[in-house]
Assembly symmetry: C2
Homo-oligomer: 414 residues x 2
Amino acid sequence: MAELLTGNALVGQSGGCTAVINCSLAGVVQEAARHAAIGRVFGMAYGIQGALAGRLLDLGGEDPTIIQALCGTPAAALGTCRYRLQPDDPARAVALCQRHDVRYFFYIGGNDSADTSHRIALAAEAAGYPLRVIGIPKTIDNDLPITDHCPGYGSIARFVAEATLDAGRDTEANRYVDPIKIMEVMGRNAGWVAAACALGKRSDEDAPHLVYFPERPLSVPRFLDDVKAAYDRLGFAVIVITETMRDERGQPLAEEGATVADAFGHSRLVGAANRLVNLIQDRLGLRARYDKPGTIQRSLMAAASPVDLEEAYLVGQMAVRYAVAGEHDQMVTLVREPGPAYRCRTDLAPLAAIANQEKKLPADFINDAGNGVTDAFRAYALPLLGPPLPTYPRLTRAVEDGGHEPQISADERR
Amino acid sequence: MAELLTGNALVGQSGGCTAVINCSLAGVVQEAARHAAIGRVFGMAYGIQGALAGRLLDLGGEDPTIIQALCGTPAAALGTCRYRLQPDDPARAVALCQRHDVRYFFYIGGNDSADTSHRIALAAEAAGYPLRVIGIPKTIDNDLPITDHCPGYGSIARFVAEATLDAGRDTEANRYVDPIKIMEVMGRNAGWVAAACALGKRSDEDAPHLVYFPERPLSVPRFLDDVKAAYDRLGFAVIVITETMRDERGQPLAEEGATVADAFGHSRLVGAANRLVNLIQDRLGLRARYDKPGTIQRSLMAAASPVDLEEAYLVGQMAVRYAVAGEHDQMVTLVREPGPAYRCRTDLAPLAAIANQEKKLPADFINDAGNGVTDAFRAYALPLLGPPLPTYPRLTRAVEDGGHEPQISADERR
C-alpha cells in the first residue's frame, strides 16, 4: 500500500469533445468525495491552457445535482483546449498545484493529453513535489494504444451507424433523384469512425456500400470504378469517407486546389466529400449529395451508447481509486474480458506508452479490397454500441404484372 | 352518406423522405384492411413515376409484421420520386387504376404531390371513372398551406433542435480552438427547419446565436457584423442557415462562383455554409467549421418525435376513412384544437388549394432583426417535438483567485 497522500485534486478536459466526456468528469468528482485523502476538487477551465492562465473552478463545492446531471450532458462542461505545452509550462503547472495544495492531477483526453500529463508528472518528480498524475482516456478517434477502446468511441460509433443506415434508406428510396450519397465522418489518421458506419449493415442493399479509410490512400480512378460498380449493381450507392482522406500523392482531398478567390471571399477551401460529389457528377454523370454530420456526430446525446456512458464514468471513478492507492504517471485503460458476453475491467498503462501514439485500424478489420470492414471488426465494435441497432423491413411482394425496373430517364426528373 | 364504392386501393409516396412517412403508409394499409369496400391494396414503387412504368407492389398481401414494422422505419419503403406529370400522364394513371380496379387513390407527399393528385382526380372525372383521390400530407419543409403543420416536420425539428443544442455545447467548450460554427439545414424556400434549430435554446449561451431564413435575403456585411457581435459578446457563436440561402442580389450562396476547374474535377460547386466559413475566416480572422447534417436530419429515427409518428399514422388512417365516406380530391389536414394542452384533429382541404402553394414562415415568427425566432414560433412548434428537449447544466463556481478570461492568443493553439 502506497503512502497516504493528502491534498486537493485538479481535473481537466482536453482535445475534441464527446457525448460522454462529462461522465468521466462526474466519475472523478463523485469518487473523490468518497476519499478522505482528497480535500477540494478543482476543475481546469479550458484544460491546461486555461489552468495556466489562472482559470479554475470549484467542482467539489458545486451543487451535487449539477455534477450528477453532467452524466447526461454532451461536450466538455469544463471547456477544452488544444494546446502544446511550452518549455516552461510543466514547471508552471506544478507550481499551480503547489499553490493550491493539489496532490491529485487528472487529465481526460487523448494522445496529446497523455503527453501533457506525462510531462507534468516528470516535472513534479523533478521538483520533488509528490503529485499523482493519472490520465483518463477519451477520444472519439479510438486511436489510443493499449486500451481495448476509448470512451467516446461507442457513442460516435452508434450515431454514425444509425445515421448511415437511416440516411441510406433515404438514398435507396430516392434513387431516381439523387442515387449517390457520400457520408463524410471524422477520424483524424485512423478509420475507426468510418468503419463504424458499417455496423448497422445487414444486407447488400443496406448502407454503406463502400467505406474508405485514411489508412489507405484514395485512388481516384479506383474510387470511381467502385462507385460505378455499386451503382450498376444496386441502382444507388452510399459511400463513407473521412474528412482527412488523402489521395495517392498524399494530398488531402479537402485542400487540393484551395484558396481560389471568389466573389466575396478570398479562399475557397472545399471539403473532401464536396470534391468527390463534384467528381462523381462530372465523371460518372450521376447526381450525388453529401452529408457531413460534423460535430453533431460526436455530440448528439440522443444517439449516445449506454455502454459508453457507463464506461466513461468508470474510467473517471477508477482514476481516483488508482491515484489514492498510489498509482502515478499512468493512464486508465479498458481491458475486455474473454468470453462470449461483453465485459470490460480497467487497468493501467504508462502515460509514456500512450503519449503521441496512434492506433490505426488493424489490417484484419479492413476487407481485401480496402473498401469495407470485416466480421472481425464487427465482433470488436458492436458490443461498444449498447443495445442492438434497429432493423428495418423491406417490402417484398411485387405485383405479377409489375416488378420490372421502370425506365426512368434523367430528363423526366423534375 | 356517399354511395358505397367498392374496389382496390393504390397508395404512393412522393418527394423527399422523412422519418415518419412510412407511418402514414402503415396507417393506410392497416385501415384499408378494416373496410369491406376496399379489396386489394397496391403500392406504387417509386411514386407515380414508377407506377406509370408498371411497378406495383401488393401491400395488402404483405406480411402484417412488415407493415407494422414500417412505423419504425425511416425514409420511404415504397420508394419515392420527383416527377412532374407529362400531359398524357393523368389519363395514363386513370387507365392504370381501371386495369387494376383501383377506386381509392392515396398519395403521400407535399405541394407537388398535391398537384399530381389533383390532376389525376380531374382526369378520372373527365373519364367518368369513379375514383376517390385523397392526398396525405408529408413534408419536412412544413410549407403546405391550410394544415396546421405537416407530418415529418416534428421529427426533423426535434433532430435539428437537439443537434444544434448539443453541437453548440461542443463549440462553447471548444471556443479557443474553433469558435464559430455554422449549421446548414434544409428547408427549400421556407425557414421552418432553420427556425426549429432554436427550439432547445433557453439562455443566451445556448446555441444557436443567429438564425437566418430564406424568407430574408442574406446581407453579407450585416451577417459579418452579427457574427462579430455574437463572438465579441460570448467568445463563440453558432449560426444556422439553410442550404438554399440567397444573397441580396438573389444569388444562391451555394452556387456563386461555381464550376471553377480544379485538379481532378471539372466543377467546384461549394455549399452555402462552406462559403460562409471561408468568408468568416478571411474577413473576421476567426476559425470556423460547419456541420451539414444533410439527409440525416430528415431520416434519423433515434431523434424522431413521438407526436409526429402518431400524427403521421393518423393522417394515413383518416385518408382511408374519408375516402370510404365519399370524400374526393381533398388532402387530409391537421387542425390544432384551442386550449392550453396540445391536441390535433384532422380535417380536409381541397387539393387544388394545396397544389404548388408554399407556406412561408410568418413574419411574427421571425424576430425584428431577422436573425432569430420569437416566442410565438416556440409556442407553435414545441408541442410538435414530443417530450421536452433536454436541459444541460453549466458549472457555476469559479475559484476565488481565478475566474478571469484567460489570455489565449491564436498562436498558442496547437
